[in-house]
Amino acid sequence: MAKTIAVAGKGGTGKSTVAALVIQRLRAKGFGPILAIDADPDANLGNLLGMRNIKTIGDLREDVLKEVKNFPAGMNKASYVEAGLHQIIAEADGFDFIAMGRSEGAGCYCYMNSLIRKFHEDLTPSYAWVVFDNEAGLEHISRRTTSKIDVLLIVVNDNPISLETAGKIVQLTDSLPGSAEKRYILANMVREDRLPYVEKWAQENKIDYAGHLPRTSAIEDAIMNGASLLSLKHPPTRDRISAILEKIGSVA
């Protein structure tokens, strides 16, 4: 059964970077197949994984809603959407990728969301790991278009507001029992002297501390150059991510 890791946090804390590095490590260790889902409408994960021009589920949703009145009467809409959803999956070595894309616009979404929910349920069993890159609002979790998450990794950085956001995320998942099995804080690019503060915050809020990733020029350079993080060769980062993966107990 697929193990789901969701990465969340305030915009700009480096969630997509963390998600990409986690995928890289899981793949390197041979833990596949992996399904990477970019649930952030801002859609950054794809770039970091070297995937370009990806059609999103949001695009499909809008297409279907626009075409609804022109739909051939004898064709079953649900199979059309299901087929469309399968075609959106971008395939690569050791992992597949889906971008959720924009959130709902005006219009009636009950129908589409019910199909997307079913799609997630049907799809995830084919993978050993699902890595989710979320936006702070965790819309997909609250709307239940995604199913239960095993590990929720909340990323914070030096900005104290990122801790406030983390707090809100904790509250949101508290209010949805069964939505996230285990929750962790990950400190990304946080100054050494501020780490104890973050650890204390984690303790006070009864969230486990997963570890930290310092500011790393190798990562920054790769991102600046538009390179895929999958080809990043930086042993200290590799070791840090491995340690974090072990800490969150996801390494089977």
Binding site: A73, G74, N76, K77, E91
Partner: protein, 738 residues
């Protein structure tokens, strides 16, 4: 009745109950009596306690009572020198064991470790129960096998499980023999295990076998509608399982810790005794004692010494399962368990369709002399001519003939092609008509799978499933790009023809409508009744969509609703539809008229595409759609109107509708239909122009379209009446609406 079995079972039950009592004491010490004791995602509390005791367990403290009851059911361990009848005691000990095991399993959810870890799935939630369990009841899955232990070699395990999958038998796995579990053997061989492949590993310890039984218990409560609470209900639930759920236990291997006369641990016997209460027999591959007389189980209770190679067929016999094995002459395994698998790019040998090449499938009726039964032709390259990793065109053309076959059945049978092809192991099929996507995996290709085998699959399945209608089937598979393209054009023409025909379907043509309760989470008292001529008001669901959705998930948001006696043909009211909505709207709505806006109109949820409202001054109605932001002749904008109309309220004079309904011949037919239509926003008029003009022409009102006002012609009721007079709109000479 075997004394050895009874002794072991009773002893095992004692041990299990004691273990549960201790674990409960520890849990209460660390978490307190009031800590929740619940399984995730179920409405049935702890199903075993609910079934046998009628007890609704919610907290740890409640479990104290459960275990007290379990203790009462424990029999005395039969002494060596005394031979007593103890069938009842053995069965009771089985129940006590299940109560203890349910306790131990739920404690894992309270204090840990989480049972859903690695390959193990733990408790099955109600959602999956409904989705998959229904297949046990309607015959798609003839039964389930609960496998305890392991086989000698991993290869034997794979062979055994494939035999079960071929018969579409659901496989539950729990427990181990000498530290090795069947599920671990399958995992080592790379077998995918989850609810899609019908292979469900519950847990490594024997206690997790209780999940197979709490599943069976809930099947009776859900599908059998049996509410627990007293002894009669408990017995009914057990009988339901004996008579309708064809399950059996396969006990594999010998435990080194057990005595030579037993070969299996006490705990395994105790659990098996629990299963026998449900009428589920045990078949073992070791020489354990047997219980051959019938009684609780329909046939034998415990059968042993069966060779691994024969154990599946023997189990099927002992349980009395009727299996229809469609042996299809293809080199890969075939069964319902393979339907959900997806072939990833890295595992793919070749593919057809999707975004990569053209592909289509079509089924046509032909005259009987034109169909050669069983003929399969591949026109173009075969798999041996294809390069690994590439995409090729594919046209699947199925020709059928039969004395009882009718053109209308073409799409019904064609829709099954998806299911038929995906049930082959290592084959992925998605979509329908000219938007299909098919993949052949590397493993399937290595086993010798050819394009022609699609023909073998379709011929076997169609003849098997539609034997009454179809006499001859032939299949042509086109992989030649030019020939395939020509046929694809032909196919598209046929699809269009079919769509036009269905587009012409009327409400009178069908005997049942469909309901849609998809938005009940937003509007609890609203239910849409979707007819061929009146689609759901969100615009997404047509009658055909509801029908398809119902086929996919019979317990989903769409159900068939019989029309029953016609109360009023003009207004559109039917007896059985009224009774249905009375219940589904929780008493909110007792009756409604499908074609009326004034008398008992249909309710709305809140996301309608358009609102129709009466304009009394004009003696007619206006329509405004969700995208129009301006003012309307009734003095309210869309958003204000929506507030009046939504939430399940029945408001005479206002209805929410889907856009397509505007061009339906049933459009407010009770009040005179299109002649009442006085105003629509410009853009909406453009959207519906083609369809509406065509319909108006059919009924002899070709000029009416241009007489309908827009926001450019009038915004107030006075201006609207002026306009209608200026164009001599028919509404002005009609009877007063109110």
């Amino acid at each position: 009745m075997s004394k050895i079995i009874a002794t072991a079972a009773i002893r095992g039950a004692h041990a299990m109950v004691a273990r549960a009592e201790q674990a409960l004491a520890e849990a209460i010490k660390s978490k307190g009596k009031d800590a929740a004791a619940e399984y995730p995602n179920t409405a049935y509390y702890l199903p075993i306690m609910y079934l046998f005791l009628g007890q609704k367990v919610k907290k740890l403290g409640d479990l104290t009572e459960s275990l007290q009851e379990a203790r009462k059911l424990l029999g005395q361990i039969p002494s060596k020198s005394l031979w007593l009848p103890y069938l009842g005691e053995t069965l009771n000990s089985g129940v006590a064991t299940l109560l203890a095991e349910e306790t131990l399993e739920v404690l894992k959810y309270v204090t840990g470790p989480n049972p859903a870890e690695g390959i193990w799935l733990g408790f099955t939630g109600d959602e999956i129960l409904r989705l998959q369990g229904i297949k046990l009841v309607d015959g798609r899955m003839p039964g389930f096998a609960a496998i305890v232990g392991c086989t000698e070699t991993d290869e034997q395990a794979v062979q055994l499980v494939r035999e079960l999958q071929e018969r579409s038998i659901l496989v539950f796995m729990a427990g181990h023999t000498n530290g090795k579990a069947f599920a671990e053997q399958l995992a080592a061989q790379g077998i995918e295990m989850n609810w899609n492949t019908f292979l469900v590993p519950y847990g490594k310890e024997i206690t997790s076998a209780v999940h197979a039984l709490n599943f069976a218990a809930r099947s009776a409560m859900t599908f059998g509608g049996i509410e627990p609470g007293n002894l009669k209900a408990a017995r009914d639930i057990l009988m339901y399982n004996k008579q309708r759920v064809y399950a059996f236990v396969l006990a594999l291997g010998a435990d080194s810790s057990a005595g030579k006369d037993q070969l299996l641990t006490d705990e395994k016997y105790a659990t098996a005794a629990g299963a026998i209460n449900f009428g589920f027999p045990v078949i073992a591959d070791t020489d354990i004692p047997q219980i051959l007389p019938t009684g609780i189980c329909t046939y034998e209770h415990v059968v042993s010494g069966v060779r691994t190679e024969e154990i599946v067929s023997r189990a099927v016999e002992v349980r009395g399962l009727t299996i229809k094995v469609t042996k299809i002459p293809i080199p890969v395994q075939y069964g319902a368990g393979f339907e959900g698998e997806r072939v990833r790019k890295e595992d793919m040998h070749v593919q057809f369709g999707g975004q990569y090449s053209d592909a289509f499938e079509i089924l046509r009726m032909r005259p009987i002399k034109d169909v050669e039964d069983g003929k399969i032709e591949v026109i173009g390259p075969e798999i041996k001519d294809m390069q690994q990793g590439e995409a090729y065109p594919l046209g699947i053309v199925v020709d059928v003939a039969g004395r009882a076959f009718h053109e209308d059945f073409e799409s019904v049978v064609e829709r099954r092609v998806h299911e038929y092809i995906s049930c082959a192991n290592g084959i992925f099929h998605m979509g329908q008509r000219s938007i299909i996507w098919v993949r052949i995996s590397k493993q399937a290709a290595a086993k010798g799978f050819h394009v022609s085998h699609f023909g073998d699959i379709l011929i076997s399945r169609i003849k098997n499933d539609f034997s009454k209608l179809v006499d001859r089937v032939q299949v042509k598979l086109y992989t030649d790009p030019l020939k395939m393209k020509a046929l694809m054009e032909m196919a598209r023409g046929v699809y269009n023809q079919r769509d036009d025909k269905i587009g012409g379907m009327t409400d009178e043509d069908v005997s049942e409508y469909y309901s849609c309760t998809l938005c009940q989470s937003y509007a609890p008292n609203h239910v849409c009744i979707v007819t061929p001529q009146r689609l759901g008001l969100c615009g997404a669901y047509t009658w055909l969509d509801c029908k398809a959705s119902h086929k996919i998930d019979e317990h989903g948001p769409n159900e068939p609703v019989k029309k029953g006696v016609v109360i009023d043909a003009v207004r559109g009211q039917w007896e059985d539809v009224n009774s249905y909505i009375d219940v589904k709207s929780h008493g909110n709505l007792k009756k409604f008229n499908a074609y009326s806006i004034l008398e008992d109109p249909m309710t709305s949820c809140g996301c309608f595409e358009c609102i129709v409202a009466i304009v009394p001054e004009a003696n007619g109605v206006m329509i405004v759609d969700r995208d129009f932001l301006g003012m309307t002749p009734v003095g309210m904008k869309f958003s204000t109107l929506a507030g009046q109309v939504g939430g399940g309220a029945q408001v005479p004079g206002f209805i929410g509708i889907g856009k397509l309904y505007i061009s339906s011949p049933k459009f407010i037919a009770a009040e005179g239909g299109w002649k009442r239509l006085t105003w629509m926003p410009k853009q909406l008029k453009v959207d519906v122009e083609d369809r509406l003009r065509a319909q108006l022409k059919k009924v002899g009102l070709p000029d009416l379209f241009d007489k309908i006002a827009t926001e450019d012609d009038a915004e107030s009721p006075e201006k609207l009446v002026e306009f209608l007079q200026s164009v001599d709109h028919p509404v002005l000479s009609m009877d007063p609406m109110l």
